[in-house]
């Protein structure tokens, strides 16, 4: 049970830290640029 609690805490802390780091690196904007155009690969056009 204690091991699970530690893993849970690590997951939450790592998740929050990585999200913050990604935001600082400007990744959401890169994703937005892709997401607002029709992704031709996703729909099977090429």
């Amino acid at each position: 049970m204690k091991r699970k609690r530690i893993l849970r805490l690590c997951g939450l802390l790592c998740g929050a830290a990585l999200t913050a780091l990604g935001i600082l690196r400007g990744e959401p904007e890169v994703i937005l640029q892709k997401a607002v155009k029709i992704c031709l690969e996703c729909i099977g056009i090429g």
Partner: protein, 297 residues
């Protein structure tokens, strides 16, 4: 199974279906996209939704985490996306695969198809065990490695999973856009035929094998599976209450041996086993809250 438990299973199924439909409608709530024959371009697409939901769907309000992961991996930096990885770790640590069971729109499609009254197939246990690893290979190779390692003619990496495998993209984005938009229709070729064939195969298999895509191919399910054992949301079988009747195992869509595997990464937390259990031996809750309650009691 007694009538009371059959009714309980039906009620639970209806409730889960309602949640799934509301989630799918909410995630794809931009109805104007279907009228305008285009996609949503607002700022909510900065945020990745926690389930497999193609951002090329005319109704999609958020970004698909698997598509986003490949976009960053195949971009200039050629690196793993910390933002998407972090968000998925947060979702996974809190909910585990509860998201697959209750919120995923492609899971909903499979759950609807399995209601077609045809005899269901049971995958032989040894094959099932082996095939389960396939989704981890899909995550590692098609989502993380190939987009970063292989350059296309434009110098960027292709989203291999989206391009060659993802059935959700074809169903939610490809087919509506190709039907609605004549320009896109004229561009559809071999790749579109391939992706439609993949989609049809998975849909047909879903009628016979419950949640076949989630079991064997979904890279997002593979990612969340890593967190399922210790996620805040847990399911447990109380051994002292279990009467080993096997009813939980018989209703499990993931073909799990429930008393043994309820804590494994494969359980999508759909709750069918809990509803079917005549001894009320299965408990579901957010264990963080329970631990707190037990501590204060």
């Amino acid at each position: 199974m007694s009538r009371m438990h059959r009714d309980r299973l039906k009620r639970q199924g209806r409730l889960r279906l309602c949640v799934q439909v509301i989630a799918a409608a909410f995630l794809n709530g931009y109805a104007a996209g279907f009228v305008k024959k285009s996609i949503f371009t607002g700022k909510t697409k900065l945020f990745c939704v926690p389930v497999l939901n193609c951002y090329a769907c005319p109704g999609a309000l958020g970004a698909c985490p698997i598509g986003a992961m490949q976009t960053v991996a195949g971009g200039k930096g050629r690196s793993i996306s910390f933002y998407v990885l972090g968000l998925l770790m947060l979702f996974g640590t809190v909910f585990g695969r509860l998201l697959c069971g209750f919120l995923c729109p492609f899971g909903l499609i499979q759950d609807l198809l399995v209601r077609i009254p045809l005899k269901k197939l049971t995958v032989p246990r040894s094959a099932d065990r082996l095939l389960r690893y396939l989704k981890y290979a899909v995550l590692l190779i098609m989502v993380l490695l190939l987009p970063a390692a292989v350059q296309n003619e434009l110098g960027s990496g292709d989203p291999w999973f989206c391009k060659y495998l993802c059935p959700a993209g074809t169903l939610e984005g490809g087919i509506p856009l190709v039907l609605l938009n004549p320009t896109l229709r004229s561009l559809a070729g071999v790749l579109f035929t391939w992706k439609t064939a993949v989609l049809l195969s998975i849909l047909i298999l879903s009628v016979k094998i419950p949640r076949v895509f989630c079991r064997y191919l979904c890279p997002l399910g593979a990612f969340y599976a890593l967190f399922n054992r210790f996620a805040c949301y847990q399911m447990q079988v109380a051994e002292h209450k279990c009467i080993a009747c096997g009813k939980c195992t018989s209703v499990c869509p993931m073909q799990l041996d429930v008393p043994q595997e309820i804590c494994s990464g494969e359980c999508i937390r759909c709750g069918r086993c809990k509803a079917a259990c005549p001894a009320d031996a299965i408990r579901t809750d957010f264990s963080v809250l329970r631990e707190k309650q037990e501590h204060t009691a």
